[in-house]
């Protein structure tokens, strides 16, 4: 039942998108129930930067048709505080195995199901290759961190271009980081580029073990204080990133394009709210599916989706079909790094 991803054994295929689920804050709301019913097969931290960042001034959110623009600005207490304070609180998470038939009472309830460790993936962002190097080297020293995700959706301080939007620059940065860690490196690709597949190929050429996409689509919201008045940007950060069902079709296309181009495993995300959406991502070539904005509407959304995928697998097996859903798009055969047991 479990899934292998970059050498890690995961309970199922559903993880969180970086910056969409704060375990430490959620414990204040849900207490022990959060740990007992932990929904994600791996936990991706919010983006950690070298120095503390307060984040953008409010307002930070704007609801769109079937979506959300956020302009949060990567608030975090910085690398040193993450290592000292957050890491111990993110260590030792476990998740119950998904159940095809828990609702029927045939599988043990979540609190008695077989449990899997939840590997911790630390997401880091530097504004220079040197900053990235210090972040990756710090992660390399900590056994609690299973893998590192690179947030390359950040402007190069010298060129002003997003590091991840330029294949040449992206390959150089990943190649400089590759020798600094033995842990899996996942590159979180930006969708705000003309050619995401070339960026994915560049990440792979630089030595990435996996790519994840899509990050949010750059977006803005305008408001008028009165009819006829000039419009001004609502978000404190000016622009933000669009997520939710509004981006799902775009995400699916980008995941399919990237999966067809690279041989490393792909983490697909963007508007996934149901098992059917997750199955679409897997059919498009994703090994893992990340849930982000859907968790805002229901913190247990990822668990529901993981259970649904298990149910689908069981249903397919019962029907005499292949246990894996057919891949209609992208690739033939299993992706490298994936080995469903």
């Amino acid at each position: 039942m479990s899934v292998r991803f970059c050498g890690l054994e995961l309970a199922h295929r559903v993880i969180n998108g970086s910056g969409t689920f704060d375990v430490i804050a959620a414990r204040k709301a849900f207490g022990r129930a959060l740990d007992a019913e932990f929904p994600f097969a791996a936990y991706v931290s919010k983006t950690i930067t070298l120095k503390p960042r307060p984040g953008n001034p409010p307002p930070r959110l704007w609801e769109t048709p079937a979506g959300l623009i956020n302009s949060i600005g990567l608030p975090n207490a910085g690398l040193e505080a993450y290592m000292r304070s957050d890491l111990p609180q993110l260590t030792g998470l476990t998740t119950p195995a998904p159940a095809a038939d828990r609702a029927d009472g045939r599988s043990p309830p979540r609190d008695r199901a077989e449990r899997f460790p939840v590997p911790l993936i630390t997401n880091v962002m530097g504004s220079t290759a040197e900053e990235f190097a210090r972040l990756v080297e710090a992660c390399e020293t900590r056994a609690e961190i299973a893998a590192i995700e690179l947030n390359v959706s950040c402007p190069n301080v010298r060129t002003g271009l997003d590091i991840g939007a330029d294949p040449g620059q992206l390959e150089r940065v990943v190649a400089q980081l590759r020798p600094r860690t033995r842990k899996p490196l996942i590159v979180k690709l930006t969708p705000n580029t003309a050619d995401v597949a070339s960026c994915a190929a560049a990440a792979q050429a630089g030595g990435a073990d996996a790519v994840s996409l899509i990050n949010t689509l750059r977006a803005m919201a305008l408001v008028r204080s009165a009819a006829g008045a000039p419009a001004s940007a609502w978000l404190g950060g000016g622009t933000g990133g669009l997520s939710g069902p509004a981006v799902r079709a775009v995400a699916l296309a980008q995941v399919a394009t990237v999966a067809a181009r690279v041989s490393v495993p792909v983490v697909g995300m963007g508007g996934v709210e149901s098992t059917a959406h997750a199955r679409d991502m897997i059919d498009a070539g994703a090994t893992l599916v990340a849930v982000g904005t859907a968790s805002f509407r229901d913190p247990a959304a990822a668990a529901r989706i993981a259970d649904g995928l298990a149910r689908g697998r069981r249903g397919a097996a019962a029907a005499g079909a292949a246990a894996q859903p057919p891949r209609a798009v992208g690739v033939a055969g299993e992706r490298a790094g994936e080995d469903a047991k």
Binding site: A29, E37, P59, N70, P75, R297
Partner: protein, 264 residues
């Protein structure tokens, strides 16, 4: 602590209260909320079919009262989310996540409590009043007489209206100033629109009166995940209204952010 998933619950009633509605929901398994805690609400059906194909996200509402197995919420139609919730009828279903957040800390014995509310922000003061034993003064401000009927949610409220159509003509902080003159040792509990909260904060700061403010901010999740509901903290950095609040000691704030309470 809230259960770790949203619950699909039956609407048991929708009562008119002047310009407001009181949504009643059967929630027998809910943990007992602290006064000032909130829940994230969404209609189970047709959530997304309103103006501009919104709402998409659930909306945060203070728990106004807990009566037996029912939770009560005070609604006002101010946007596509609250409008859809106002349309609900008994027998329909809502999604509810909660109770969430840090509520009011109750006063020590023999201190008078001044409850100051404005508009739909009076909701958490009702459940607070239900739990207060000592002397309680309730001061509520509304735009007009239709909204002032919302004062019926609490017992013995004194009312102020912006247009003078009911009670004192002027801001509710006029009533608060008079009360603080009379008893400078009172404790203040306030919830309402940002300008009202800012006026309460400034008045209490000037007189060194401790005040607890229940803040409102647009939020996507309600449990610390989205980092969207931040307000500036005195001395730098931000507080998340959902997990650091919604009830926040006034002295933690330089001012109450005017963006708090955007129409939803």
């Amino acid at each position: 602590m809230a259960p770790f998933t949203r619950r699909r619950l039956a609407v048991t009633g929708m009562d008119e209260l002047g310009a407001y509605r009181v949504l009643r929901v059967a929630d027998p398994d809910a943990p007992e909320p602290d006064p000032g805690q909130f829940a994230m609400l969404a209609a189970a059906e047709r959530w997304g079919g309103g103006d501009e194909e919104r709402p998409y996200l659930p909306r945060a509402f203070s728990i106004a009262r807990r009566v037996g197995a029912e939770s009560h919420f005070l609604l006002e139609d101010v946007g596509p989310g609250s409008r859809r919730l106002c349309e609900l009828q008994a027998g329909e279903r809502v999604w509810l996540l909660g109770p969430l957040g840090r509520g009011f800390r109750l006063p020590p014995a023999r201190r008078r409590s001044l409850l100051v509310g404005g508009g739909a922000g009076i909701a958490p003061l009702a459940i607070l009043q239900d739990g207060l034993a000592g002397e309680v003064v309730v001061l509520l401000g509304f735009r007009d007489a239709a909204r002032a009927q919302g004062a019926g949610l609490l017992d013995g409220a004194r009312v102020a209206t912006d247009d003078g159509s009911a009670g004192h003509h002027g801001p509710v902080t006029d009533l608060l100033a008079a009360e603080l003159e009379r008893d400078p040792l009172a404790l203040v509990y306030a919830c309402g629109p940002a300008p009202m909260l800012e006026a309460v904060r400034a008045m209490c700061a000037e007189r060194s009166v401790p005040a607890q403010l229940a803040l409102e901010a647009p939020m996507a999740c309600g449990f610390g995940g989205c980092f969207g509901c931040t307000v500036a903290r005195r001395g730098g950095g931000y507080l998340r209204v959902c997990v650091d609040g919604p009830v926040i000691d006034a002295e933690q704030l330089e001012h109450v952010d005017p963006h708090a309470g955007a129409p939803a």
